[in-house]
Symmetry: C2
Subunit: 320 residues, 2 copies
């Protein structure tokens, strides 16, 4: 069953990620059931959600709905059975521990409607490890958001080898229907797509600082005022496709020799917690004292809201 608009969505575990998913689903008009093994957690989650909804409304990010009309779609359930009842999509957001996930998925597989899709928010555990012993393992996958999903649309959708192709198709349709951008993996791999790409960039960033070529601050500026501008609306492949007269094949012919030489110099690992950490920390803490981290996270989310609004507006006007 495709998790159609009549079906509810269950969010299991309502910490940081579960709360964010609830907002993401409910703002598109979907009914969301929350459940958490901690009895008071759902009430606290709804209080938190209410504050975020006001911010989102101000930035026109509630799909035209009023905060109260979104909040009323979110139901705190007292039992797992109740949360799963009538749910066609189950978004698991428990702790990132394999034993906990396996035990939780066993219960989800047992108690949910047999056609519901069971999606884990895991950022690092492979879907095969979570689902291998389950009768319903064909309907299990990972749907890993970048937090918070109501501001960052990309969601990695990762199958185990036994995840049914029609489940992957249904997951893609469903996530698109709630305004997200599904990034479809064809097979699972450690780190999925996001952490591998982020890791590759970070490793070179740490290397540049470790080898004394630039400060962490200048590397951040080089990305924020340089490379990431194009990446933020077309990604790295299209960027180079547009950077040579004959497109990406032409680009590769022109520049692969230069990159190949660089890669020879980029093979040695950098210990991120080695001597470079002192430099990076000094740079970061001079720009932002540790006591200001929480305020800066709020600021970052406000910037993300504005950026998302900007992108929607320009997408409409200039297409993609």
């Amino acid at each position: 069953m495709t998790p159609s608009a009549e079906l509810k969505i269950a969010v299991i575990g309502v910490g940081l990620i579960g709360r964010a998913w609830a907002i993401t689903f409910a703002r598109t008009g979907r009914h969301v059931n929350l459940w958490d093994p901690d009895a008071g957690a759902c009430r606290r989650a709804k209080e938190f959600i209410a504050t975020i909804l006001d911010d989102l409304a101000e930035n026109d990010l509630l799909d035209g709905r009023l905060p109260a009309d979104v909040l009323v779609l979110i139901t705190a359930c007292t039992t797992l059975e109740e949360a799963l009842n009538g749910s066609g999509w189950v978004q698991e957001c428990g702790p990132e521990k394999i034993d906990v996930k396996r035990a939780l998925f066993a219960r989800l597989d047992e108690l949910s409607h047999p056609d519901a899709i069971l999606a884990s928010s895991s950022s690092a555990l492979l879907p095969s490890a979570i689902s291998e012993d389950l009768k319903g393992k064909h309907r299990c996958l990972v749907a890993h958001p970048i937090n918070p999903p109501y501001l960052i649309p990309a969601v990695e959708v990762v199958p185990a080898s036994w995840t049914a192709p029609e489940i992957m198709t249904a997951a893609e349709l469903f996530l698109t229907s709630v305004g997200q951008v599904p990034i479809i993996m064809k097979k699972e791999v450690d780190g999925f797509i996001m952490n591998r790409l982020q890791g590759a960039l970070l490793e070179e960033a740490f290397r540049l600082v470790a080898n004394g070529y630039a400060s962490a601050e200048d590397v951040d500026r080089g990305i924020a005022d340089g490379l990431a501008l194009r990446w933020s609306f077309i990604g790295p492949f299209e960027t180079i496709d547009l950077n040579a007269p004959g497109g990406i094949a032409d680009y590769i012919q022109r520049y692969q020799p230069m990159y190949s030489e660089l890669f020879e110099q980029m093979r040695e690992r950098v210990a991120w917690d080695g001597p470079v950490l002192r430099d990076v920390l000094q740079s970061r803490r001079r720009l932002l004292p540790e006591s200001d981290l929480a305020d800066r996270q709020v600021w970052r989310d406000r910037r993300l809201m504005r950026l998302r609004a900007h992108k929607s507006e320009v997408d409409k006007e200039l297409s993609r």
Copy 2:
């Protein structure tokens, strides 16, 4: 001499990069002299510049000036001597060939005011290779833009070992004064900062496609609707600094083991022009036929204009 506001700027070579630099400098009210060994090039450059200025004015990216008031600041010179006369900053934009650059820099060193700063736009040639034989090598450096600099503010400033520290300081001040964001290298290295970071990300992007994990299209979406959103205003170091409760040191402690495992799987080189190229090309040409590349470049620059306007607006409102 710091290239003060009374001094002119010389742009030597008026192809794609030289034209873009001329716009970047002139829109902040600076007098710009153009020179090119090809006699008709300066006239063609001014025609091209006029069309871009109209676009920039529409997007409020001319520092409050009218296109005609910017255009009048740009003078086509018939001799190199004339272009260098009264110039405190010389931006060399010749072909990316070491012999040509060396010969050109020898003339610049001979003919320019001895206190002028001589900056090459080179993306790959090291400043030491360009300037080693010059009497005025202490005043030579690379100032490498990401094209076009009037839309992408980051400029890599790269010294040779003999570049004077006060020249680096003056370059930083000058580039800031014309609205750019100087990214200061402490010493030269192949690929500078940008191409090393871009190369690291691209290599992993090609690897994901080559190994059958995802399509090029999905990798681009993962960056454009995922990772690059935060990178586009805070960069990768600040992103992870805000992604763990205790900041970047806490992040490293939590996630370095995961990344270390990934890096072991990321050591083997990918031939970008190997079998993966067929998949990437198929994906790109399906989304964008080769005949549409030029139109798409125009579209990209319009998106960049809007993004730059968005960032300026939000920078003012929410600071950085």
